[in-house]
Symmetry: C2
Subunit: 467 residues, 2 copies
C-alpha cells in the first residue's frame, strides 16, 4: 500500500470528544476497529487511516452539536457518504470523528413544478431516482457508483451524463452547511438563479468537506425524456473516434451521453458481458428528446461517424438492448479486472480540452505499454475526460511504484495540455501534489479561504491543500 | 437622488497614488471631473460617487502594477466595464482609482474545436459575437445591454437566453485575476470540467470586483443553431401565462428564450414599436435546433399554450419577423419610458421559484397600483426572474421614497417566497440591505472570505457586504 502522511494527533482532545460523544449518542457513536477501518477505507492504493469514532447523526442540529464540540476541542471532523470516493477523501490522517450520513437519508421535498428537490446528504443517487420515477422526473448526474448525494456534492462529481446535464456544480441550487464553528447556514434560496453575493454554493461544491459539512442539498431535476435512444459505433482509431465526437458537439447535437472505450476495454467488455463488439475503439451514445428528435439526432450522428470511418453504427430505442449496452459500460470496472485476475484496479482520471483528447489518450496508451502496465481506458469524451484503470499486483512494490509514477506522468501531461489533474474524482490525498502544479499561486488563495472558514483546520484536514 | 453612504477617504494615500499614476501613465490616467463623474455614473437613482482617477490599462501586468501600488497605499480600486450595471457597482464611496477596461478589449484566442475562447475583460458581448459569426459560433448570454464580458462576469449576468444556456456562472471556464496584493492567478485550466480544488472561478463570478480584478476570461461557446424559430402567444392572465411556461419546461421543450411581458409592457411596446399585439399578458419565445426540431418544439408549445387559454399563437422562422419581435423586447426600456414622458426608469429585479412567479408578479402589480406607481413588468420567466421598471419623477422626493419603499417590499416578498432579491443585477450598493435578510448568517462567511482575500478592503469597497 502507498503510505499517506499522518498528521499530528490531538490526543487529549480526541479522548475528551470521543468520551462525550459515546455518552451522548450511545450506539450511534461507534468505536470498534472494524467499523473505524471501514470508514477510512479508500477504495484505492492509499492506505487506511481510520477515524477514532464513527457517528451516525440523524439531523442537522446533531451535526452542529458534534462539529461545535470538535471545534471547542480541536478535533477533526470527516464527513462520509458511502465511501466510494477514490483519492483518500475519507481518511483520517490526524484521527478524529467520522460523520456517517447513512441515517440522514430522507428526501425532504420534491417541487415538481419547479423541477427541484431537497434531500439530506445520505440519500443515494439511485434512491432519489427510484423515488422520482413515478413523478416523471429524474436527477441526471451518474458517476457510476451508487454514491450519496452529499458525497457527490462534496467532490463535484459528474459522470456519463455531464456532457448534456453538467456536473454537480450545475445541478446544486442551494446547500445547508454546518460551518467549522457549528453555525448552520443556507448558501442560497431556491430560486433557479441569483446574483446575490458570493457563490458560497459553488465554493462548497467540490470542497471535499474541508470548508463545511453539508447537511441538506437542493438539487435541480429534469423531466424524464419522452424518448431515449442508444447507439454504438466502432472506429479505426482513438483519433477517429475523438474527431467524430468533436464534430458531433460542434454540430450542436445535444447528446446525453457519449462514451469512449479503447480497444482493451472493448475486449474486456466482450469477455465479461458476453458481447461480440469489434475490438477497436468504440463510442457508446445516448440521445434524449422527443421520438422524432432522438431519431434525427442518432441519424445525424450516424452520418458524422461515417465521415470519420465509423462502422457498425447501430441505434436502438429498445429498452432491453439499451440496458444491455449501458450495463456493459457500467460493469467496465469488473470487466477490466478480468484482464488480470487477482490484480487491484486503480482508477485515475484527467480531463483535457477535447481537441487534445485523442493525443492525450494515445500518449497514455503508449506510455502504459512502454512501462509494461495494463491500463484500459474509458472516457466521458464529450467533456474531454477519461479514466485509466491500472491493473496492479499489490504484492509487487516495484509495480506499485511504477504505477504511481505513471499516474504522476499522466497528470503532468494533462496539465501541459491545458487540462486538469482530475475531471471528476477530486484531489483528496492522492492528487495533492498535482494541484499546485496545475494552478500555481491560485492554491495560496485557496489556502486563505480555507484558513478564513476553518481557522483551526478541523474540517477533513490533510485533503486538497498541501498543509 | 438617493444618497449613497460615503466611506472614509484615505486622502494622503490617494494623493500619492494619483501622483505616481499620472506620471507613469500620462494620458492613460485621467483626472478631469467630467470623466471621473462618468465613471461613477450608476444608471439608476443612486447618486454618483466619482473616483479620483480613471486609468486605462492595456495589459495584465499594468493592472497588477496599479493594484500593487494601491495596495501599498491603501487606496481603493474599482473595475469598470461599460458602466451598464444597475446597483451602483462602479461608484467610489471612498474615492480611489477606477480601472476602465475599454483598452483591454482583445479577443485573444478562439478554440473552435473546443467551443471556447479567451478574451480580455473589455470585450463586449456584441463585439465577440460579431467576431465569432463567420466561424459559426456564438456566445449566448444576453443581458440586453452591450455590456463588457468582464462586467458580465463580475455581476454574474444572465438575461433572455439563460433558461437554455445558463448564466455567466455556467459559461465561464476559467479566469485570470489580479488579486488584492497584485498577484496574478489563473483560477482554472481550459478543460471543460474539473474537480481540482476550490472553485475560485465561481467565487470570482458575481463577486463584483470585490475579491479580485478580472483580466482575462475563458468562455464556453455554442455552435450557431441550424434553425431558429420565434413565437408569440397572448394569455388571459399572468397566471395562465406562467402555467403555460411551467408546463413547457416540465415537458422538456428546450426553449432558448421564454419572456413574459405584462399588459402594461405590451401596451408600451405597441406604441413604441408600432405593433398591434392584444393588450394582455404575452409570451415571446425562441427555439433553437434543427429545422425539424424547432418546428416540433414550437408546435408542442402551441398545444400547451392552448390548454392554458393562449391565443394568437404565431410562430415564424422569418429572420425579419423574428428581429422585429425581439427588437421590440430589447427596446422595452425605451418603450416603457414612453408610458410617462420625462420620468426616469428605475429597473429592479427579483427571482423566485417558478411555481411562485405568477403570485409574485400579480402581487407586485397590485402593490404598484395601490401605491400609484407606474411599473411595467417583463420577465425571463423560464427562470422565475422578472424586472419591474418604476417610472419616477426624480424631482419628487416623495415619489422616490415611495418607489424605494416599493423596491424593498418587492425584495422582501421574493425572499419570503424562497426567492432572491436579485436574479441578475447583483447587489452593488443598492441591494446591500437585502442580502442579509435573504441569506442571514451566510453573509458572515462571505465577509470572512472577503477579509481573507482582500484584508485591506481596497477592492471595490462598499459593495455587496454591509461594511
Amino acid at each position: 500500500m502507498v503510505q499517506s502522511t499522518a498528521l499530528p494527533r490531538n490526543e487529549p482532545g480526541i479522548t475528551a470528544v470521543v468520551g462525550i460523544l459515546k455518552q451522548r449518542f450511545g450506539e450511534r457513536c461507534q468505536t470498534g476497529q472494524a467499523i473505524r477501518n471501514q470508514h477510512g477505507h479508500t477504495t484505492t492504493w492509499i492506505d487506511t487511516q481510520a477515524p477514532d469514532a464513527v457517528l451516525f447523526p440523524t439531523e442537522t442540529a446533531e451535526v452542529s452539536e458534534i462539529v461545535s464540540l470538535c471545534a471547542e476541542n480541536g478535533v477533526p471532523v470527516i464527513p462520509f457518504g458511502i465511501g466510494s470516493s477514490l483519492e483518500g477523501h475519507v481518511n483520517a490522517p490526524a484521527g478524529g470523528v467520522c460523520l456517517d450520513f447513512s441515517e440522514m437519508n430522507r428526501i425532504l421535498a420534491v417541487h415538481g413544478e419547479d423541477l427541484d428537490c431537497v434531500v439530506q446528504p445520505g440519500v443515494t443517487r439511485e434512491q432519489l431516482n427510484t423515488y422520482l420515477r413515478d413523478q416523471g422526473l429524474f436527477f441526471p448526474i451518474d458517476p457510476g457508483a451508487n454514491a450519496s448525494l452529499g458525497g457527490m456534492t462534496a467532490t463535484r462529481a459528474s459522470g456519463t451524463n455531464a456532457v448534456r446535464y453538467g456536473t454537480m456544480k450545475d445541478n446544486v441550487l442551494a446547500l445547508e452547511v454546518v460551518m467549522a464553528d457549528g453555525t448552520v447556514i443556507r448558501t442560497a434560496q431556491r430560486a433557479r438563479k441569483s446574483s446575490a453575493g458570493y457563490d458560497l454554493t459553488r465554493l462548497m461544491v467540490g470542497s471535499e468537506g474541508t470548508l463545511g459539512v453539508i447537511t441538506e442539498i437542493t438539487l435541480r431535476l429534469q423531466g424524464i425524456p419522452e424518448a431515449i435512444r442508444s447507439a454504438r459505433c466502432s472506429f479505426p482509431s482513438v483519433d477517429a473516434a475523438c474527431q467524430a465526437v468533436m464534430a458531433t458537439i460542434q454540430y450542436g447535437i445535444p447528446v446525453a451521453r457519449i462514451e469512449l472505450l479503447d480497444q482493451l476495454s472493448v475486449s474486456a467488455a466482450n469477455t465479461y458481458s458476453k458481447l461480440d463488439l469489434p475490438e477497436t475503439p468504440l463510442l457508446l451514445l445516448e440521445f434524449h428528446g422527443s421520438e422524432a428528435g432522438v431519431a434525427e439526432q442518432s441519424a445525424t450522428f450516424g452520418e458524422i461517424a461515417g465521415e470519420f470511418g465509423g462502422s457498425g453504427f447501430d441505434a436502438t430505442s429498445s429498452t432491453e438492448e439499451r440496458s444491455r449496452l449501458w450495463q456493459a459500460r457500467h460493469d467496465m470496472y469488473w470487466a477490466c479486472l478480468g484482464l488480470r485476475p487477482g490484480a487491484k484496479g486503480i482508477s485515475t482520471d484527467v480531463c483535457v480540452p477535447i481537441s487534445r483528447l485523442a493525443e492525450c489518450v494515445v500518449a497514455a496508451q503508449e506510455k502504459a505499454t512502454e512501462e509494461g502496465l495494463i491500463a484500459p481506458m474509458v472516457g466521458h469524451v464529450g467533456d474531454g475526460n477519461f479514466h485509466a484503470l491500472l491493473l496492479i499486483d499489490m504484492d509487487e512494490p516495484e509495480e506499485i511504484a511504477k504505477a504511481e509514477h505513471y499516474v504522476g506522468w499522466l497528470n503532468d501531461l494533462a496539465i501541459s495540455m491545458a487540462g486538469t489533474c482530475t475531471g471528476e474524482h477530486g484531489i483528496g490525498q492522492g492528487k495533492r501534489p498535482y494541484l499546485e502544479r496545475e494552478l500555481g499561486p491560485a492554491t495560496r488563495y485557496m489556502a486563505a479561504v480555507k484558513a478564513a472558514l476553518d481557522p483551526e483546520n478541523i474540517l477533513n484536514p490533510g485533503k486538497i491543500l498541501p498543509i
